[in-house]
C-alpha cells in the first residue's frame, strides 16, 4: 500500500477523462498498485454514470439503431478476455528502465526526456534517476511537478516516498531528495514549468532545466 496518493480532485478529473495523457499515466500506474485509490476511482466512475443519467435526453437519429445492426453483423467477433496486456509503462519505455538513454547531469542525477512519447501534449515529461544514496541539489518548482516513484525510494522534507507513491510539488516546496536504500531511485515527473534552482549547483543544472 502506498502512503502518498493523488488528491480527490485529480482523481475526479481522471475519472471524467479531463486529464492530459501524462497525468493520466501517472494516475493509472498508481492505481495498478493502490487498491484504495482504485476503489475511490470506482466510486467516481459511478458518480460520472449518475451525472450522465441525470442529464436531459436528446433524440437519437431514427436510423441509428438500424445502422448499428448492420455494423455489428460485419463487426469483428466479440472480445474474449485476451492475454494480459503490456503495462502502459512497458509499452512506452520497454522492459528495462535502465536501458533508456540516460543523460548524466550530476554525479548522482541522470535524466531522460520522454516528452516526445506524448506528441500532442505541451507538458514536459521526464524520468529522473537518483543513484542509490545520492542527493539531488535543492530546488523549487515554478509551476507544479507531479511525480510518481517507479523504482526505489527517496526522502525529502515531506517524508519518505516509496515505489508507486504519488507526490505533487508546488512552487512553495523546496525539494532536496535523497535516494534511499541500495537501489537507484527512478521517478516519472511531469513539469508544468521549468525548475528553479536554489542551491550552489544551480548553474550546473541550468542548461538542462529550461
Amino acid at each position: 500500500m502506498t502512503r502518498h496518493h493523488p488528491d480527490s480532485l485529480s482523481l475526479m478529473d481522471y475519472s471524467a477523462g479531463a486529464l492530459s495523457e501524462p497525468h493520466a499515466l501517472c494516475i493509472r500506474l498508481h492505481l495498478e498498485k493502490c487498491v484504495h485509490c482504485r476503489s475511490r476511482v470506482d466510486t467516481l466512475n459511478s458518480l460520472g454514470a449518475v451525472m450522465m443519467e441525470q442529464q436531459p435526453d436528446v433524440t437519437v437519429s431514427e436510423t441509428s439503431f438500424e445502422q448499428l445492426l448492420a455494423r455489428i453483423d460485419e463487426a469483428p467477433a466479440p472480445l474474449q478476455n485476451d492475454a494480459p496486456r503490456l503495462s502502459p509503462l512497458q509499452k512506452l519505455l520497454g522492459d528495462d528502465l535502465n536501458d533508456l538513454p540516460w543523460k548524466r547531469q550530476l554525479p548522482s542525477v541522470s535524466v531522460v526526456d520522454i516528452s516526445d512519447r506524448f506528441p500532442d501534449q505541451e507538458e514536459r515529461v521526464i524520468l529522473q534517476k537518483l543513484a542509490a544514496g545520492g542527493k539531488a541539489p535543492a530546488h523549487t518548482h515554478r509551476g507544479t511537478e507531479t511525480t510518481l516513484v517507479l523504482q526505489g525510494a527517496f526522502s525529502d522534507a515531506k517524508g519518505v516516498f516509496n515505489q508507486w507513491d504519488f507526490v505533487v510539488l508546488t512552487d512553495q516546496d523546496v525539494h532536496k531528495p535523497v535516494a534511499l536504500g541500495h537501489e537507484d531511485c527512478i521517478t516519472l515527473s511531469i513539469l508544468s514549468a521549468p525548475l528553479k534552482l536554489t542551491g550552489p549547483f544551480g548553474r550546473l543544472l541550468n542548461p538542462f532545466i529550461t
Binding site: 479531463a18 493520466a24 476503489s39 459511478s46 460520472g48 442529464q55 437519429s61 455494423r71 506528441p119
Partner: protein
C-alpha cells in the same frame, strides 16, 4: 489514512436490470436486449457528446459507444461494476479517442486510451471483493440528492463538459478555491476524500 467504505446493507448488491441486459448481449448476442440498452442509454450518450463540445460528432459517438458495447459485453462482469458505470467509462473512453483522432497532429500514439483509462472489470484479476461497487451508484444517487445544487453544478461541469476546475471557476465567475472547496465538500460526502486531504 483512507476513509473506509461502509459495508453494503444486507440484500443490496443484486444485479441491476441494465446489467442483466448486458449479460444477455454478452452471452447470447441478444439483439432485443441490445435494443433496450440503446433506447435507454443512446439519448444520454448523445447529450454527453453535445455537452462535451463535440455536437457534430454526437451521432458518431453513439454509434462507436454501442459498437464497443456489443464487442465488449462478453467481458462485462456485473460483480465488478454497475452497468451504467461500465457504459459511462466506455463513453468516456470513446470520447477521449475521438478527440485524440480529431486533434492528432503527429503519427501514432505510443499508448492507447485504454492503456490509460481502464474499463472496470477488464484485465483486472483482483478477486471480486469490492462489494461496495455494486451499491455505490445507489449510494451516490442518495447522497447527490442531499447535496446543495451549487456543488452538483460544479461536478456536472467537470463530468459533462470536460472542464478543468479552473475553466469551471472562470465560467461561473468564482475563485478557483471556491470551486475546489465545493467539489471537495461533495466528494467528502461521497466518501472519496482521504482524511488527510485539506478541506
Amino acid at each position: 489514512m483512507p476513509t473506509l467504505e461502509q459495508p453494503p446493507a444486507q440484500g443490496e448488491g443484486r444485479k441491476d436490470p441494465w446489467g442483466a441486459l448486458l449479460e444477455r448481449v454478452g452471452k447470447h448476442q441478444d439483439k432485443a436486449a441490445y435494443h433496450e440498452l440503446f433506447e435507454h442509454f443512446a439519448p444520454r450518450i448523445k447529450y454527453y457528446a453535445i455537452s462535451n463540445g463535440i455536437a457534430s460528432h454526437a451521432e458518431e459517438l453513439v454509434q462507436e459507444v454501442f459498437i464497443a458495447i456489443w464487442r465488449r459485453s462478453s467481458l462485462y462482469d456485473w460483480r465488478k461494476a454497475a452497468a451504467s458505470t461500465w457504459i459511462f467509462t466506455i463513453a468516456r473512453n470513446q470520447r477521449i479517442d475521438m478527440l485524440r483522432k480529431v486533434q492528432r497532429r503527429s503519427a501514432e500514439m505510443a499508448v492507447e486510451t485504454e492503456d490509460l483509462w481502464q474499463i472496470p472489470g477488464e484485465h483486472d484479476d483482483e478477486p471480486v471483493s469490492s462489494l461496495h461497487r455494486l451499491t455505490s451508484e445507489r449510494r451516490i444517487r442518495d447522497s447527490l440528492s442531499l447535496l446543495p445544487q451549487d456543488q452538483v453544478t460544479v461536478i456536472a461541469k467537470v463530468y459533462m463538459e470536460h472542464k478543468s476546475h479552473q475553466m469551471v471557476a472562470d465560467e461561473l465567475d468564482l475563485p478557483l478555491g471556491t470551486v475546489k472547496s465545493r467539489v471537495r465538500l461533495a466528494l467528502n460526502k461521497l466518501k472519496v476524500i482521504l482524511q488527510d486531504e485539506n478541506l
